[in-house]
């Protein structure tokens, strides 16, 4: 069964460093998402991506964040200058097409900023 994969499973970085979180969505899916969950809090939407551009982003997704689909299979989230409060689980999701359908999630990357 196709699944969304994410690497690395755990990333530890120093405050101010750049990190890139990687995701491989399900191959025939067209819509891609990043969410995050800070420990003990709700899952929060960050950004949606379709047709090689951002289609929607939340207030959390400020200038330090960027997304890219560099090669038609990977979908990346870059955080340019990490802050302590960026420590969270980051989940990638994808869905197939237009209309309401299911978003499938990857296992997540735990980001720890020291």
């Amino acid at each position: 069964e196709p699944e969304v994969t994410q690497t690395p499973s755990h990333q530890v970085t120093q405050m101010g460093q750049e990190v890139i979180l990687r995701c491989v969505p399900i191959s025939n899916h067209l819509y891609f998402y990043w969410y995050r969950q800070i420990l003990g809090q709700k899952v929060e939407f960050l950004v949606s991506f379709y047709n090689n551009e951002i289609s929607e982003k939340s207030e959390i997704f400020d200038d330090q964040f960027s997304v890219e689909r560099p090669d038609g299979s990977n979908f990346t989230l870059k955080i340019r200058s990490t802050k302590l409060e960026d420590s969270a689980m980051y989940f990638c999701a994808s869905r197939r097409g237009q209309g309401p359908d299911t978003q499938y999630f990857g296992p997540g990357t735990r980001l720890t900023v020291l």
Binding site: V4, Y31, P100, Q103
Partner: protein, 113 residues
């Protein structure tokens, strides 16, 4: 801004009985609702969904009921099994927002043997 609320942080149910998880929402524009199950250190796993044009959807042991007038949905699991012990999230989306999911806080379901 709690558009999706799950008011029960935890629920304990005897194995074999029915588990009922509840979710309330405030945004009348939501048109698609989903339930996800999540184990610690894993991503959310899709369980079942319902469109706002329906009031019930069933898949095996899982049934979701939607009451639009009350802005309430519930997930019924019957019979409950030990493997159902997990955190259950209700999520909702709106077509115009590219179906970004708005999440509830989750309910931890514990199935007692």
């Amino acid at each position: 801004d709690q558009q999706v609320k799950q008011n029960s942080p935890s629920l304990s149910v005897q194995e074999g009985r029915i588990s009922i998880l509840n979710c309330d929402y405030t945004n009348s524009m939501f048109d698609y609702f989903l339930w996800y199950k999540k184990y610690p250190a894993e991503g959310p796993t899709f369980l079942i969904s319902i469109s706002s044009i329906k009031d019930k959807n069933e898949d095996g042991r899982f049934t979701v009921f939607l009451n639009k007038s009350a802005k309430h949905l519930s997930l019924h699991i019957v019979p409950s099994q030990p493997g159902d012990s997990a955190v259950y999230f209700c999520a909702a989306s709106v077509m115009d927002s590219n179906y970004q999911l708005i999440w509830g806080a989750g309910t931890k379901l514990i199935i007692k043997p």
